[in-house]
């Protein structure tokens, strides 16, 4: 029988960029010892991207780097990146980094015949040798074109330069500004053919999102999507790729909802660990209270929890929950509960997702709450929100984090199709709704679905008092389920009858 043998060929060697998320997308980093082109419009983050590549290389991988600036002077550059916590001066002093500023003023120069860029080669060679550099950035080499007029010479020299860099074995980043119909103004992509990354900064509905796409990566697999990225006080983070396969591990452990009666409705034990739960209902119905109970329960088990609030401030939530006898403040002080409040319009949806990811990675919670997801509609369409939530749920499932979403349904349209279409994604769905009867408004709670467990199918009365949230057992009267004052009247009647009957 023929034996199938899998030949393992050597993979293209890669240099980790150290930029969080990028190395996952590129499966290891940038091509080692080869030039990579980073292109994008002005202000898309090219310089920052490349400086982070150099700094992370020097700090995390012990690879000294040379930063050749054609635009900014060394001290300007140092000031600009100081806000990211990169101390260039210290790196320069310890010979981990060298910044070279190259400047050509066209007005100063008369061209009198044949020339080449040997001076640039000598400078680069000298800079590389002086610190034993393994990485180099040329930012933005196209500026040479504005300083020198003989394009034929420049093109030939750039071709020579990139080959020379390859021979030197340094991993290089070349940045280029986006041009008309080309990736770069001078068509650098023709010369740098190993890896091309495009940075983009787009504004949709007045909300800007930075995105990154790997256009080309010769000899390697890579993610082909557009990935949003964030620039914050820690530098660049690219949204990690979530595997969108349905093969996550599941847990059969259960976690309490914090409301005993609700646990009873859910087969007596509560939600599955690592599952996703949707609580939907009209305004003022107690969704946030249910969420807060869940957070409280999580903390009382000594499990960390993050509360993402898109509507109310943390102080407001804590004050309001105190009024129903729930003290969240001491858990915040103990460091078990973390509030993260942000207006949905602060940034785009992808950014919200990224912010959530980052916080989860830092805080490592066992459960999170998003309250309410319906507010995100202001920054994206329903289908966008759905795609974001799919990715979020997928990520949380992998990390075995239980998530509780709340969603607002409008009074006018209490159909089961709202809730941003997430109802089909979640594992459990609780509905809280108004029951208007006899001139009073009462709350009813029921479980629309709860995958993998036998759950109560009844509508139960849900009450909020200053002692907290409670769910009452169903009282069946002669005309069906009784709620509110009708229930109380019926209960009283029954009690009286009991007494009378005994006598």
């Amino acid at each position: 029988m023929a034996q199938l043998r899998k030949v393992i060929l050597p993979q293209l060697p890669k240099t980790p960029s150290g930029i969080s998320g990028l190395d996952e997308i590129t499966q290891g980093g940038l091509p080692k010892g080869r030039p990579t082109l980073i292109c994008g419009e002005a202000g898309s983050g090219k310089t920052l991207f490349s400086i982070e590549f150099i700094v992370r290389g020097a700090l995390n991988y012990n690879e000294p780097g040379v930063f050749v600036a054609f635009e900014e002077k060394a001290d300007e550059l140092a000031t600009n990146v100081a806000s990211l916590g990169f101390d260039l001066k210290k790196l320069i002093d310890t010979k981990k980094l060298r910044v070279d500023y190259i400047h050509i003023e066209r007005a100063e120069i008369e061209e009198t015949g044949e020339y080449n860029l040997e001076g640039l080669f000598i400078r680069l060679d000298y800079a590389i040798k002086s610190i034993g550099a393994k990485r180099i950035v040329l930012d933005t080499i196209e500026n040479l074109f504005s300083g020198l007029s003989n394009k034929a010479i420049l093109r030939a020299e750039l071709r020579r330069l990139f080959q020379w860099l390859k021979d030197k074995g340094v991993t290089a980043i070349i940045t280029g500004e986006k041009g008309d119909g080309h990736l770069t103004r001078e068509g650098l992509e023709e010369y740098v053919s190993d890896c091309v990354i495009l940075l983009d900064h787009r504004v949709n509905n007045q909300i800007s999102t930075r995105r990154l796409r790997i256009i080309k990566y010769r000899g390697s697999f890579h993610g082909t999507n557009e990935y949003p990225f964030l620039i914050d006080e820690e530098g660049i983070s690219v949204l990690p790729v979530t595997s969108l396969k349905l093969n996550n591990k599941v847990s059969s452990k259960r976690v309490s909802t914090g409301i005993t009666k609700l646990d009873e409705m859910l087969g007596g034990k509560g939600f599955f660990k690592g599952s996703s739960i949707l609580v939907s209902g009209t305004g003022g119905i107690g969704k946030t209270s249910i969420a807060a109970y869940f957070a409280h329960a999580s903390c009382s088990r000594n499990d960390r929890c993050i509360y993402f609030a898109f509507e109310e401030s943390p102080e407001q939530i804590m004050r309001n929950m105190k009024s129903i006898g729930l003290d969240l403040k001491h858990y915040v002080e103990e460091g078990l509960l973390k509030f993260h409040a942000s207006r949905p319009t602060t940034f785009g949806l992808e950014m919200h997702l990224l912010a959530i990811y980052k916080l989860i990675r830092q805080f490592k919670p066992k459960s999170i709450i998003l309250d309410p997801i319906t507010n995100l509609v202001t920054v994206g369409t329903v289908s966008e929100i759905k795609s974001i939530l799919i990715r979020l749920i997928d990520f949380l499932q992998k990390e075995q984090i239980t998530v509780l979403f709340t969603a607002l349904t409008l009074n006018s349209s209490i159909n089961e199709q709202t809730d941003e279409g997430v109802s089909s994604l979640v594992d459990a769905w609780l509905m809280v709704r108004d029951i208007e009867l006899n001139g009073e408004r009462n709350r009813g709670i029921y479980i629309m679905k709860s995958r993998g467990m036998n759950h109560s199918k009844q509508v139960r009365e849900f009450i909020i008092t200053d002692k907290g949230v409670d769910i009452l057992n169903v009282i069946n009267g002669p005309e069906g389920i009784l709620v509110g004052s009708a229930r109380e009247a019926f209960q009283l009647k029954m009690k009286n009858e009991k007494i009378l009957f005994k006598k």
Partner: protein
């Protein structure tokens, strides 16, 4: 020699014995001897021997001629084969 003829001080940066460099040196010597004989100082510097100068002098394109006197300072690049452009660059009035 007239008194108002300026004294030329120039530095020519070259890269070893590459064709451009050899031509630039020959062309420059010829120009100097033709237009301001005996009234100039031409220093020829091989960058291969002193690579650190490349950074100090902002050298990129080579060969490069820097005229430091008379002022203003001028930079000329190329093999100096275009005599008219060289003279223009040196502010020499024909």
């Amino acid at each position: 020699m007239k008194d108002d003829v300026p004294y030329y001080e120039m530095q020519l940066f070259i890269t070893g014995a590459t064709p451009n460099s050899v031509r630039a040196v020959a062309n420059m010597k010829k120009i100097c001897e033709t237009y301001f004989p005996g009234n100039y100082k031409l220093e020829i510097i091989d960058i291969y021997q002193q690579p650190f100068l490349a950074k100090d002098e902002q050298l990129i394109a080579l060969p490069m001629l820097i005229k430091s006197s008379p002022l203003p300072l001028k930079r000329l690049i190329g093999d100096m084969s275009d005599t008219n452009k060289v003279l223009k660059g040196l502010d020499y009035d024909l």
